[in-house]
């Protein structure tokens, strides 16, 4: 040792082993390193086998300070408590993310008054996405990693490099101790004891008259396995924010149309939506006539995947069916991580197309039907000798402030079409004709009066729908919640590893027995992390095999553990 490092020389044990700063019990022989501790009575502090944690050294630099901060279990406990308190704040009022369509800036004030307004202004309406909450989680994650590393590596080293012969005081200050006169030949006696120990699953190492027997060391890694699981869990949750890994949207699927699921190559078609209610007979007495209870919501869904021309808006996509499922509550359609849940429904029919027939109202002669789509209709239609060209189209007919026809919304609530009809018996430039496919609109907007103004009183052509089979509409719309969560397998993996760690740590105990026979005296010390009662009983049973009868209770050296 160089004289420049005086501190290092202080940490050398009597047995000749050089210990790192902060060592409680010599890494080699187990002798207490602190002078005060050496003179003390009572049980030894066996945590981490008395080795120095990585961060325990002379203070240096910023990095060491940060490292020391996160390696402290006390800090970890504070962080967890603060996070728990923070989580509680998020449960006072519903979070913004639980609503589909609200204006958060006014909702909380209207719903919960001043308290709600303060809640919103403090940003607690999105507690779990707030920067301070995420910061706490990141700090817990850092603490998990650093706490583990700081302890697991020294502990691993200590446990793999155990010396068989330990300092006498190390043995007599364990919680399980036996000091007993022994007349037998030390080496033979130790060798004889090995057999029953091995039978009980101990790994036995002997060094002359000293012995170390150990079993279930792996259970010491349980807590660290739990930490690895938790870190994977946290990283998976963090990864959900990356594009493409998580999607949660609510989409409308009108019956009979394949609708694209945005941000994916999938299309979903609602072939049939069914809603059933309980009849009066099926309901209990007190509900009859008072309540309407749904019995079944079901969307017969077909999932398609686009195989070609998916993004080019100039072309129709090529679709291939990949899955089919009758979606009900709690029975989603599931395909390669995509899940479609039943969410809501709307029984308002939506008009898709009509097939009106052009008729001569004077003679009753019909010229034939044509198909008129509400969306992207054809521009010209030929029926008999007449040509109808579509000039204007209004999805939701209305009049603006200047009295001109406009569409009030892009939804086909009150569709209206303006045709120019040319053919025999009509003026050369043709005759304009307004057509409302819905009967209710025909009356409300007075189709007859409009057309008479446009075409004069000598009109004789009318568009008429003859049969309900000529009307195509989506009877209802089913709302589905489409979810993709590709991070879930990692979340489950993390949770599985946590479980494995728990099992390791809870169902096995690390048991160690040290003994030395010297000067016709047996000195035995034992250490475990739980179930001391079982441990003492095991030692008594083993000693019994070599005809050393001891009362298991007499092995108890105090320490307050059973």
């Amino acid at each position: 040792m160089t004289p420049r490092e005086p501190l290092v020389s202080n940490t050398k044990c009597d047995c000749g082993h050089q210990n790192p700063v902060g060592t409680v019990l010599c890494e080699a022989c187990g002798k207490p390193q602190d002078e005060k501790e050496l003179g003390a009575e009572g049980n030894l502090e066996m945590r981490y086998d008395g080795v120095a944690r990585r961060s325990q050294r002379i203070r240096q630099g910023v990095i060491d300070r940060i490292w020391n901060f996160f390696s402290s279990v006390k800090i970890a406990v504070y962080l967890i408590v603060i996070t728990l308190l923070g989580s509680m704040l998020g449960t006072i009022f519903p979070q913004e993310s639980t609503f589909l369509n609200i204006d958060a800036s006014t909702y909380y004030k209207e719903m919960y008054g001043t308290a709600g307004n303060i809640y919103y202004r403090l940003g607690l309406s999105h507690t779990y996405e707030s920067w301070w909450f995420i910061t706490l989680l990141v700090m817990i994650g850092a603490s998990l990693v650093i706490c583990s590393l700081d302890r697991v590596l020294p502990l691993y080293k200590a446990l793999t490099r155990q010396k068989v012969r330990k300092h006498r005081q190390f043995l007599t200050r364990q919680k399980v101790v036996l000091v007993s006169p022994l007349e037998a030949d030390p080496e033979a006696w130790v060798a004889a004891l090995s057999e029953p120990l091995k039978k009980r699953g101990y790994r036995v190492k002997t060094e002359g008259s000293a012995l170390l027997a150990e079993k279930h060391r792996f259970s010491r890694w349980g807590p660290y396995v739990i930490h690895i699981g938790l870190i994977i869990f946290l990283l998976a949750v963090l990864a959900r924010g990356l594009p493409g890994l998580n999607m949660d949207q609510h989409l409308a699927f009108p019956q009979g149309e394949a609708a694209r699921i945005p941000e994916t190559t999938y299309y979903l078609k609602n072939e049939q939506f069914t809603v059933e209610f309980y009849s009066d007979e099926e309901m209990p007495e007190e509900f009859r006539g008072k309540k309407v209870l749904p019995k079944l919501y079901e969307t017969q869904a077909v999932l398609y995947e686009c195989t070609a021309d998916c993004t080019d808006p100039a072309r129709e996509p090529v679709l291939a069916e990949v899955a089919r499922h009758d979606i009900r509550v709690n029975s989603p359609l599931s395909y390669k991580g995509l899940k479609a849940y039943q969410f809501d429904y709307d029984l308002t029919p939506v008009l898709r197309s009509v097939q009106p027939e052009l008729v001569n109202s004077l003679t009753g002669e019909a010229y034939g039907k044509f198909k008129l789509d509400m969306r992207n209709p054809e521009r010209t239609f030929q029926t008999g000798p007449y040509t109808l060209s579509l000039k204007e189209k209004y999805m939701d007919f209305g009049l603006n402030e200047e009295g001109r026809p406009v569409s009030k919304s892009p939804y086909p609530n009150a569709p209206a079409f303006l045709f120019l009809i040319t053919g025999p018996g009509l003026p050369g430039e043709g005759q304009q004709y307004f057509y409302f496919p819905k009967q209710v609109d025909k009356e409300q907007f007075q189709q007859q009066a409009i057309n008479e103004r446009l075409g004069g009183s000598g009109r004789f052509l009318e568009l008429e729908v003859q049969d309900m089979s000529d009307v195509d509409f989506a009877a209802s719309t089913s709302y589905l919640n489409i979810r993709i969560d590709r991070a879930m397998p990692f979340v489950w993996t993390g949770a599985g590893i946590v479980m494995l760690g728990l099992v390791l740590g809870f169902y096995w105990q690390h048991r160690r027995i040290w003994l030395r026979v010297e000067d016709r005296e047996l000195v035995l010390g034992g250490h475990t992390n739980k179930n001391w009662f079982g441990f003492r009983r095991e030692i008594a049973a083993v000693l019994n095999k070599v005809d050393l009868i001891v009362d298991e209770k007499s092995l108890d050296n105090g320490g307050g553990l059973a």
């Binding site: 990141v138 650093i146 569409s407 919304s409 892009p410």
Partner: protein, 174 residues
């Protein structure tokens, strides 16, 4: 054994800083993916009235005024003459005005374009993809995108001739 200690500490702290920074960063700077002032304008692929597919990349290096409109929306109709006038005025300096129709069909859009007499390129967002990627909720909404492809400003509601002129001026000569 102790030699690798410091580098290991530094690497681990660095990784924590990186991942933690990402996590906190996305929560602070609105991780909802909607473009804000200063962020990159999302690309789109939409069918134009000319029957061809158009993207934002076509106008690389040029300032773009992206106007989302619908024929049913009153303020959209009212602001069209202002847009057309400014389109004429700034055309020479490379400014492009693009009208994005939201969710209507071709006939409606064609009739509308004819009726309000606009000549700038119009694309149709029938699937509301651009609406989603630009996070548009009320119409009209106009994005002023600079020559570097970044959103300079966002105007929600009806545009006025003078303010539009100022905003385009800012795009051309920042």
């Amino acid at each position: 054994m102790g030699k690798a200690r410091k580098p290991v500490q530094i690497v681990i702290l660095f990784l924590i800083l990186l991942l933690g920074g990402y996590a906190i960063g996305t929560s602070v700077f609105g991780g909802d993916g909607k473009p804000q002032e200063g962020s990159k304008a999302p690309s789109y692929e939409l069918l134009g009235l000319d029957g061809l597919t158009h993207t934002l990349d076509e106008y690389k290096g040029q300032p773009v005024v992206l106007n989302f409109w619908g024929s049913w929306c009153g303020p959209c109709v009212k602001e069209m003459p202002a847009l057309q006038a400014q389109y004429e005025k700034w055309k020479e300096q490379g400014v492009v005005v693009v009208g994005v129709n939201v969710g209507e069909d071709r006939l409606t859009v064609e009739n509308f374009v004819k009726q309000v007499d606009i000549h700038f390129p119009v694309v149709m967002d029938t699937g509301r993809d651009a609406v989603r990627s630009y996070g548009v909720s009320p119409l009209p909404t106009t994005f002023f995108i600079n020559a570097k492809g970044r959103v300079d400003s966002i105007h929600i509601g009806q545009l006025e001739l003078d303010t539009l002129d100022v905003q385009i001026g800012k795009l051309v000569d920042p």
